[in-house]
Symmetry: C2
Subunit: 319 residues, 2 copies
């Protein structure tokens, strides 16, 4: 029987994933339910309870000593509540208290999903060994998190690193958040597709009108498709450079579906970064793809819980 | 005889100020020389040496146990060198080593000038009691520094908080730093004046064509002058909101000559901040004027030195 496991939850707008995670970041048991995002808050909580019940049915459950939650934001770690934009039934929902009740009083750590993936990349992924890092997900939205001075920086409310909603174009297009010219408004997958369509690009025979379709067209040389990725790269570069200029990071790690476009995104991003990261102390900044994949949210939620309860993470080099 | 004083240096492009600072932030002795900014690096160092010699001539010098330096940036705190943009004779100049030599081997702490004023405002000024704060100077340039989690965040190289050179207008005007649309390129005093002049504003009878003249015209109702301050406020709001969204600050403190325009700047800044600081965890952000005045650089350099040498700052409330 393994002991000192963390029950990890990764709560998003489409699914609620759970796992028992060991001290090496291994997922010992998994569970998953769809998020009933359009239903009442209690129905969403029922789905969380279902995931926890599936984990509790495992023979390993007795080894669980803490719970780590990474949730779609905004979260309020100080209050223990969540208000995910895509889950309208949860507004100030007391998730920490409810999960503690559902697990017989285990200590619960809550962070935003961007902070969770950052914890994972810093523990076992592309940001390992970097004391000052920005980790991002560029997908349907744009999220992120920070490592500063060697430690995760969730901020008082667990939301720090929200790079998707900093404005890099103060007179730009209105973002659903209410501001203008946010990084997400320019660089997310749906915005890459929208911009290409607005400029006259049309999907190929497969009818894929998403950023994946735009990426395929760009690889085939379509200049409108290429330009849409270059614009996304420019906005990401401005945002990453701003972050480095403000807090001195030396690496930016980018995951998510849009990052899956590979050099189509990373090549213009590196070029643009040289234009925006100009001061001497940020010129050495590098940008690399994420490596933790779909489990980053779960592994990172576990890492955040272990960090909060002051138990040192296992050093992957000593395994 | 007072003991445990800090010899503080505030090094800018026009003057080199020095002081012996006591544990309550009081300036016991002062000294000052003009910066021979266009001369050789050794001549600039001679001026620093002159300031230190003036301090050493005081009967209090024997109480000095450390040196704190706040310097125009960029600095490299790890290497102990400075390369101030406005002092071309100093490029990678080993200031920490030279000051240590000149003071008989006292421990020397180096931070950027924005970090120094932040340390001062956090210790004794407008950011006192705030664990997460941005402090700024809006003047000929735009600089800043951060307090995160209750502690000064200089970053590995001592330059963190460089809000003047984050881009808030990615297609905007070219900044001398090489990027486009930097906060400083829009909000600094010279840019407020340039924008007003470009839009047709002309100085009054006193011939003052600086931001001070623009402020006077704005107070008299000149719409072009008002618009130039509003544009500066918009850029500052976008930059401050970006900072809060990235690292979760709850207060921004603004000093410097442009902040001296008072509500002419702060009123549109608060309005614009509501438009850019949209996420729930940054909506409570407040913006206030700095209170430490011209001595902030010296007091902050001393605070940074005391923090580095792990001696607790005196609590102003217990005096």
């Amino acid at each position: 029987m393994q002991t000192d496991l963390v029950a990890a939850l990764d709560i998003g707008g489409t699914k609620i994933a759970g796992a028992l995670v060991d001290r090496d970041g291994g997922l010992v048991v998994r569970a998953q339910r769809p998020t009933p995002a359009r239903e009442s808050g209690e129905r969403v909580m029922d789905a969380v309870g279902g995931v926890l019940a599936d984990l509790a049915a495992s023979p390993y459950w007795g080894g669980a000593t803490a719970v780590g939650i990474g949730s779609a934001g905004p979260v309020d770690a100080a209050a223990g509540t969540v208000s995910p934009v895509n889950v309208p039934g949860w507004r100030g929902f007391p998730l920490v208290e409810r999960v503690a009740d559902a697990t017989g009083g285990l200590p619960v750590t809550l962070v935003g999903d961007g902070v969770a993936i950052t914890a994972a990349e810093h523990w076992l992924g592309a940001a390992r060994g970097h004391d000052n890092a920005l980790c991002m997900v560029v997908s349907t939205g744009v999220g992120g998190g920070l490592v500063l001075g060697g430690a995760l920086h969730p901020g008082p409310s667990g939301n720090a690193g929200h790079i998707g909603h900093i404005s890099v174009d103060l007179d730009g297009d209105l973002c659903p958040c209410g501001a203008r010219g946010c990084v997400e408004r320019i660089a997310s997958g749906p915005n890459i597709a929208r911009r290409a369509l607005d400029a006259g690009w049309r999907p190929g025979p497969d009818g894929d009108a998403t950023a994946v379709g735009v990426a395929a067209a760009a690889r085939a040389g379509d200049p409108v498709a290429v330009a849409s990725f270059e614009r996304a790269a420019q906005a990401l570069a401005a945002g990453i450079a701003a972050t480095a200029t403000l807090v001195e990071i030396d690496i930016a790690v980018i995951g998510g579906g849009v990052a899956g476009a590979g050099e189509l995104l990373f090549a213009p991003l590196r070029t643009a970064l040289r234009r925006y990261a100009t001061l001497s102390f940020v010129q050495h900044l590098t940008v690399v793809p994420a490596v933790m994949g779909n489990d980053a949210g779960l592994v990172g939620a576990a890492a955040a819980a272990l960090a909060t309860t002051a138990r040192p993470l296992a050093d992957p080099l000593s395994r």
